[in-house]
Amino acid sequence: MELSSEDNNLTEKFLPPIEQESDVELETKVKKYLRGEGANLETLKDKKLKTQLASREKLYGKSAKTAAKIEKWLLPAEAGYLETDGLEKTWRVKQTDIANEVDLLSSRNQYDIVLPDFGPYKLDFTASGRHMIAGGRKGHLALVDMMSMNLIKEIQVKETVRDVAFLHNEQFFAAAQKKYAYIYGRDGTELHCLKERGPVARLRFLKNHFLLASVNKSGQLHYQDVTYGGMVASIRTGKGRTDVMEVNPYNGVVALGHSGGTVTMWKPTSQAPLVQMQCHPGPVSSVAFHPNGHLMATSGKERKLKIWDLRKFEEIQTIHGFHAKTLSFSQKGLLAAGTGSFVQILGDSSGSSSSHNYSRYMNHSMVKGYQIEKLMFRPYEDVIGIGHSMGWSSILIPGSGEPNFDSWVANPFETSKQRREKEVHLLLDKLPPETIMLDPSKIGAMKPSRRKEKPSRGEIEAEKEVAIEAAKSTELKKKTKGRNKPSKRTKKKKEMVENAKRTFPEQGHNNTASKKRRIGEDAAAELPASLKRFARKN
């Protein structure tokens, strides 16, 4: 083993310069596959453990290197690009120019579907990008197979539809209708009516946890596990009505944008928000998350678009000029912003992963009457879906989609048997809602000593509020034979509220340990004269 590594070292020294450059590229790729720094083994005193961990670290290095080489040589497809020469700018390139240069199969992805009667359309794609559900405000729901451009099912629910979302695959989708949210099967049958949530404004699905998250018209956040139907959490945000809700795919937290300009992030196991950020001076109109989980884009009504780094919760960049009603990030990091009938695509012009600089990449303006309702990039394709007031369209954006899919993660060419198997595996790997946290890499790491996480003050107060509300809203049994006096009822209710409050001890008294006070230890002047004989004589 040692001889071969020596040989490798020797050959590496005499590589030509081109090979050495590609070595640098390989280094960055290897870093990506190593997923962070290795453990510091110098501090270990246990020799057996040290040797075991050292050999494991070596294995990790080897596997990361192999994965980097596979990425370089063995992946079947390459990403799309748009390169202009000379003085020509990328944002002046129109869709018609693109259609002339590109092959037939791709140009089939540029189209406009005009459905003027059914109101602005909202879209959602499945994880593999193969199926799309479009929901028009006036009640039109359409399930489309994008690869064969085949309409699988369309139904008219005859009610306002405010949002649509797919569940774990194309067999189930949820629609937020006038009074309640409903879950439909693939053939359009209504499977469930989700009455507990009330009138829902936005619906999103958390894939790894099988949780359907929604925010309703009174600003309440609901999480429901769709495998057994139980409501995991219903949280009163206390910030009023909002219909801006997005899920961060990296860690599963839900972000709400409020009318005061704050963006709050929530997890189902706590009643208080994880993070509250003051993003804009006015109301937040849209929020979007980069797939790597570190970047968030928010747009406010004051016509600014801000890019935030979520690791430090700092603003990286501000883009002035337009009020983006809808935002979306693509798999490769392009940001699409839609205002009125104009779509602007921004790309990261700096190559490094640490600094980001978003600048104009492409534009697309539609016919003046088409007001854009929702933008969403289609996964694994260089296509963006636009839902607008006159139907939906799709245009080509080179370089936006991930070129190589993994069949075990999301397969656009799935057969029904593969889909069934995948569903079973997804269910086996379903994560409990407690795993949603800001930094998901903490799972599996050893936590130092602390047995139980102490909740913060804000969390305790929020829990207290909820408990008091629950106590107040319990219905007392109606007693007969003269035992149902109003005075007794009010007394009993007060008692229940007091009990609920008692489970939360007062916060301020933790620091000073209450010492038992002996009679007469402080100034004897406190004691009345008759008790002075009991004062302690020091």
């Binding site: 596959y33 994965a67 690869m147 599963g252």
Partner: protein, 452 residues
């Protein structure tokens, strides 16, 4: 202007004919897999739970003896057979796959104390308390023998009477000699009626003997004066000797590292020694509550199985201080002998209740032919469980074993006793001049001295 967009022609990404395998593409980029660590943890938890669900280690019991089983011997050339002997002189050859007796070797008048097979598998040597050593010719298993209906009774090929009762016997590897343990250590040849060589030290009897698999001339013995001695046949006296605090019931050499031996002691622990340097134990394996009666190594050299007076069988890793597995049954009484099968899959235990029991070495192992996909899934489950086995939820499931009540209570008492001893020791140290109280490490504490 150069433009390229992604386009995937369907025939490149799907299979050509229906008899082909499905086309699978891989992209190992971590950004395609959010929350991969949480998913892996969930899989580790599921794997730990599945392992417990499939853990059914007891395969079967072999019934036939009329008195407690005192010793067993395995034939290195024939995987399916095991010899066992009981306290009333009954020696049987069992067929493990059908769990029936193939033939019996009657003859001994008292308890049979030692059984061993020569390396070529032809000669079975037995010794007992009736002061005799008998040699038997092992019947060759033919194709007809697979359905065993008739029980054969075999006559001994040779019978040697000697002066004192014997306690153990072991055969040399690749040689013609075998050693018996009795009042002295005696070395015999197949053809001679009296021993060719004998070793004596003091007046105490030798209770167990074991030849080294790597060096055919070296053997280890343990005597009732609490000593472990290593002899070399080419020399006239002992090579190494240590005296411990309690007597050793049985010794086993590691087949993969023949310089290491492990001794099963009367105080409930097993001590692993390096044969070249016996003043300190390399590892102390503690988990049994009562005396450890027998010990046998797996052919991989990575594990050994012990049977103890506390009615349980434990499997230990060769370098680990605590057992990986414990097997017990309400019906199994004091375990006197254990053997690890030669394919490292099964463990056999012979106990006081006249039964030989067959257990799986890995309790949740799927026996039989395993498809390659199944094999990969088993390996993945094993690997992901080992990655997270130190975390509390997974650890609790992996570690969980049901212990019989007497053992559970005894372990609690032992823990209390050790805690109080340690506390007393700490207080003594705290109240005396620093450096006066020196604790010997456990590896050396149980060894009194090395002699010679």
């Amino acid at each position: 202007m150069k433009i390229k967009t992604l386009s995937r022609p369907v025939d490149e990404y799907t299979r050509e004919r229906s008899q082909d395998l499905q086309v699978v593409f891989h992209n190992f980029d971590p950004s395609l897999r959010p929350m991969e660590k949480a998913v892996e943890y969930k899989r580790a938890l599921t794997a730990a739970k599945l392992e417990k669900i499939f853990a059914r280690p007891f395969v079967g019991a072999m019934d036939g003896h009329r008195d407690g089983v005192s010793c067993m011997a395995k034939n290195p050339n024939y995987l399916k057979g095991i010899f066992s002997a009981s306290m009333d002189g009954d020696i049987r050859l069992w067929d493990i796959s059908s769990r029936r007796t193939v033939c019996q070797f009657p003859g001994h008048q008292g308890a049979v104390r030692g059984l061993t097979v020569s390396t070529d598998g032809n000669v079975l040597v037995s010794c007992g308390t009736d002061c005799t050593v008998r040699l038997w010719k092992v019947p060759r298993p033919t194709l007809e023998d697979s359905s065993v209906s008739s029980e054969n009774f075999i006559e001994p090929a040779a019978e040697y009477v000697w002066k004192n009762a014997f306690w153990a016997v072991d055969h040399q590897f690749e040689g013609e000699l075998f050693a018996t343990a009795g009042a002295q250590l005696e070395i015999w040849n197949h053809n001679r009626a009296s021993p060719v060589q004998s070793f004596q030290w003091g007046t105490d009897s030798v209770i167990s003997v074991r030849f080294n698999p790597g060096e055919p001339d070296i053997l280890a013995t343990s005597a009732s004066d609490r000593s472990i001695t290593i002899y070399d046949l080419r020399m006239s006296s002992a090579a190494r000797r240590i005296i411990m605090m309690t007597k050793t019931n049985s010794i086993a050499w590691n087949p993969m590292e023949p310089m290491n031996l492990t001794a099963a002691n009367e105080d409930g622990s097993c001590y692993s020694f390096d044969g070249r340097k016996m003043d300190e134990a390399k590892c102390v394996h503690k988990d049994h509550v009562s005396a450890v009666m027998d010990i046998d190594f797996s052919p991989t050299g990575r594990e050994f199985v012990t049977g103890s007076y506390d009615r349980s069988v434990r499997i230990f890793p060769y370098n680990g201080g605590h057992s990986r597995e414990i097997y017990h049954t309400k019906r199994m009484q004091r375990v006197f002998c254990v053997k690890y099968s030669c394919d490292a899959t099964y463990v056999l235990s012979g106990s006081d209740d006249t039964n030989l029991r067959l257990w799986k070495a890995k309790a949740s192992e799927q026996l039989g032919v395993i498809l390659p996909r199944e094999q990969k899934k088993h390996e993945y489950n094993e690997a992901v469980k080992n990655r997270y086995k130190h975390l509390p939820e997974v650890k609790r499931i992996v570690r969980h074993r049901h212990l019989p009540k007497p053992i559970y209570k005894a372990l609690g008492i032992i823990r209390t006793v050790n805690d109080s001893k340690r506390r007393k020791e700490d207080r003594r140290r705290a109240h005396s001049a620093p450096g006066t109280i020196v604790t010997k490490p456990l590896r050396q504490r149980r060894i009194i001295k090395e002699v010679e």
